[in-house]
């Protein structure tokens, strides 16, 4: 017989192959107020959220289209009262279900119900390796202990657990400790992901940008831990592109591998795509996921390589990284068709390095951190971000 083989599916070229992943941002409500949160500054309110039946339809359409992994995310997805029902439906239509949670507000009873509903995997955000650092990052108190209790409850029920640690200047000294905590909690995997600067993270970039030397040290720390913990803990790491030479293939390519749906139903090629204001995002209220994937102008806008200009269009890496991230190109160069400034061929590249060096060498000023929250009209202009109302009792804005 021929030796059997399972091959990790190769990155697909940017043609409208069916998507493999759907990020369902069920709500923007969240009990935490993380300084690095990638939710947009203008968060959607509860009254704007899709109802249960619409999400179920979206999940069925996604499965029919070929989506494999469904990420139930937010905000805090368990703030939705129908989270168990949605999980059960997604599992029944054959999706691999992953809950991306802060762990706060998830009771043991809810975990049991999610287990029974067929939830496949849980991803818990980790903001620090102890209470002090966690408090500084999340903008509230006591979260670390609750996360630890949650992690243990997850593992006790036999769920596979991934910790997602977003790294920045406030916690970059704790990477080895966070890895140790992951082992202690019984997680099978940890993602050490350096902050991507969108949304609240971009607003707080001056407080979050890590120093080059610290980034280099974490690369070594991760390497050492990977060898030591092989077979015990899988460590996936994403290093910051402000210090990189070439950009990353963003989200597997625009309109190539994944899509996101916002709480109110807008379908996006990437969760940061709304920063590109001239794009027309279709809503799942009006169109099926299949129609959106194959026919919506926003998904077509930067698909493949035909939208490119110099330096990307004549670059030999153009099918490798597809020019990097469109949202970062827009945010830092003003034009989403420019090369991602993380690329050395970008005329904005040295500026990016300068920003990183300048911001990271200043002392952290926690008082300057804008913890995420729902802002009241007028507050934004005054430069004040108001604390969110209780996430579970939010009134319509």
């Amino acid at each position: 017989m021929v030796l059997p083989h399972v091959a990790e599916a190769a990155a697909q070229p940017a043609s409208p192959q069916p998507p493999i992943g759907l990020l369902a941002e069920l709500t923007h409500r969240c009990p935490l107020r993380c300084a690095y949160c990638s939710n947009p500054l203008e968060m959607e309110t509860r009254s704007a959220e899709l109802d249960t039946e619409t999400w179920k339809r979206v999940f069925s359409e996604a499965a029919d289209l070929g989506v494999i992994h469904l990420h139930l995310s937010g905000g805090e997805p368990t703030a939705r009262r129908d989270i168990v029902e949605l999980t059960r439906h997604a599992s029944q239509v054959g999706l691999y279900t992953n809950l991306i949670t802060s762990g706060l507000g998830v009771t043991d009873a809810m975990l049991d119900a999610l287990h029974d509903a067929g939830l496949d995997h849980i991803q818990l955000s980790m903001q620090g390796a102890d209470g002090a650092v966690t408090d500084a990052v999340v903008g509230t108190r006591g979260a670390f202990e609750r996360k630890e209790a949650f992690a243990r409850a997850v593992v006790a029920r036999g769920f596979p657990l991934t910790l997602n640690a977003v790294i920045h200047r406030l916690n970059i000294g704790q990477v080895p400790l966070m890895i140790e905590k992951a082992v202690a909690f019984g997680a099978g995997r940890i993602e050490i992901a350096h902050t991507q600067y969108y949304g609240w993270a971009l607003k707080n970039r001056a407080q979050l940008m890590p120093a080059r030397a610290d980034v280099d040290r974490t690369i070594e720390e991760v390497k050492e831990a990977r060898e030591r913990l092989a077979g015990i803990l899988t460590i996936d790491a994403v290093f910051p592109d402000y210090y990189a030479k070439y950009p990353k293939l963003c989200n597997g390519g625009w309109g190539a591998r994944t899509l996101s749906v916002t709480p109110s139903g807008l379908a996006l090629p990437c969760h940061a795509a709304q920063t590109i204001k001239h794009l027309d995002f279709w809503s799942v209220r009006d169109h099926s996921i299949g129609e959106i994937w194959t026919s919506s102008p926003a998904f077509d806008a930067y698909r493949g390589t035909s939208w490119m200009k110099e330096p990307c269009i004549s670059c030999e890496r153009r099918t490798v990284d597809l020019g990097g991230c469109r949202c970062q190109a827009l945010a830092l160069t003003g034009d989403p068709r420019n090369a991602d400034p993380a690329c050395i061929k970008s005329t904005f590249h040295s500026e990016l390095g300068d920003i990183a060096v300048a911001e990271s060498s200043a002392a952290v000023n926690l008082a300057a951190v804008a913890y995420r929250g729902f802002s009241r009209p007028g507050a934004e202009q005054a430069g004040v971000v108001v604390a969110p109302r209780s996430p579970y009792t939010e009134r319509p804005a």
């Binding site: 017989m1 030796l3 399972v6 493999i20 496949d120 596979p160 991934t162």
Partner: protein, 92 residues
């Protein structure tokens, strides 16, 4: 390579799913953030991993499908499963 006991029962842990993808006409082994395409031979083996069959029973069933005897098939199946265990895709 140390061999597996006859009584070994390969299982998919929670969080790993083996399923047919009708859209792509392909069987897949799914983990968190991971997708492995199974070729036809891998599909045959993994379809027999139902959490009840032992490795002996799996190899027996395969002798009906492939033109080879158990002694030939067994080492291939073992190294395949041991490799998957290293990827945390099966427990043995």
């Amino acid at each position: 390579m140390s061999g597996l006991d006859d009584g070994t029962v390969p299982r998919f842990p929670r969080g790993v799913k083996f399923r047919e993808d009708k859209v792509r006409g392909q069987h897949m082994l799914l983990g968190p953030e991971r997708i492995f395409n199974a070729d036809p031979v891998a599909t045959q083996i993994l379809s027999l991993c139902d959490g009840k069959r032992t490795i002996v029973e799996i190899v027996d069933a395969l002798t009906e499908v492939f033109a080879a005897d158990a002694a030939t098939i067994r080492p291939d199946v073992e190294s395949f499963l041991i490799d998957l265990r290293q990827k945390q895709l099966v427990t043995l």
